[in-house]
Amino acid sequence: MKVVIMGCGRVGAQLAAMLDKEGHQVTTLDIDAYSFRRLPPEFGGSAIIGNGVDEETLKKVGIEEADAFVAVTQGDNRNVMASQIAKHKFKVPRVICRIYDPLRSDIYSLLGLEAISPTTVFAQMLKEKLEG
């Protein structure tokens, strides 16, 4: 599977490393080259500096041939916009988007984005731990 991951923070880098290890073709994208330090030395994918809310950048990282796009930058809105570009403009078959704000996450789920709110997921996990 060919995957483009936008945002090379802790989550993005770890996901990139995991998928790379399993033999997937991974491209990570971040506006700050310093973020790529989080990738392990054996990482075999590519790491490209650029802004994912820009179509040209997305083309450069091979979005047109990608099977999946994951948006995990710190900015909810950046994730939302990039995901919509990937989904509607480049017709990427699988697009997953992180949205911290649970309300915004609900709205965009209704609008057809596959949105995950770590806030909701983690709060739920903590609650289950406490109760279990």
């Binding site: 809105n77 939302v80 704000d101 309300l103 709205i107 209704l110």
Partner: protein, 220 residues
């Protein structure tokens, strides 16, 4: 009308001022407390501190009774999300977004924003107009009809100087509507109007024919 403005920067501030002068009810949503304070000091209590992309802030602002939401922050993605949340969650009928990357103009419309205004394109057009090498300026786009109104300036180098309008091979669905000549009142051109150096021609055309129209009128 009740109009919500997202972003209290210079654009948001002057927009609010203009809309207040026209007698509208205006509310600015701004994240920065200091900016918010200074707007409230100057324009009266019209600024609410908060993130205009958050459904909770928009709820507080009474967005469901707003007639219009205008997002003018400096970030395209924030303007997009503010408009989409207003539109889909609060059913605001008209949303307007400022875009800085001109490429986003069409894309925002596809995503349901009613009007996307590219500040970058507007400034570029105005500057280009001042360059003698650029004879064409986009004046207006009539989106629903997919028509453009452009202004073409005839320069001494244009091979069409001295030619009559009927001799030109204009692209289909292009109409020359007005000729403005120095020190003369504007006239509606006919087939026998002869083009002169310095003529400003206002024409209506299809977006895809703009370049063809320019070459028909200037020969370049």
């Amino acid at each position: 009308m009740y109009i919500i403005i997202v972003g209290g920067g210079r654009l948001g501030y002057y927009l609010a001022k203009a809309l207040l002068d026209e007698g509208h009810e205006v509310l600015i949503l701004e994240k920065d407390a200091a900016v918010c304070q200074s707007i409230n000091n100057e324009l009266g209590s019209i600024c609410l501190r908060g993130d205009g992309c958050e459904a909770m802030t928009l709820e507080q602002a009474g967005t469901s009774r707003a007639d219009m939401l205008i997002a003018v922050t400096g970030e395209d993605e924030d303007n997009l999300v503010a408009c989409q949340v207003a539109k889909h969650k609060f059913k605001v009928l008209r949303t307007i977004a400022r875009v800085r990357n001109p490429r986003n103009e069409d894309f925002f419309r596809q995503l349901g924003v009613d009007v996307a205004v590219s500040s970058t394109s507007i400034i570029l057009e105005h500057i280009k107009h001042e360059l003698p090498t650029h004879p064409l300026m986009h004046l207006l786009t009539i989106q629903e009809k997919e028509l453009e109104i452009v202004e073409v300036t005839i320069s001494p180098e244009s091979i069409t100087v001295g030619k009559q309008v009927r001799e030109l091979s204009l692209p289909p669905e292009s109409i020359l509507s007005l000729v403005i000549r120095k020190e003369r009142k504007p006239t509606v051109p006919t087939g026998t109007t002869t083009l002169q150096d310095g003529d400003q021609i206002i024409a209506v055309t299809r977006p895809e024919s703009v370049e063809a129209l320019k070459s028909a009128l200037t020969g370049s």
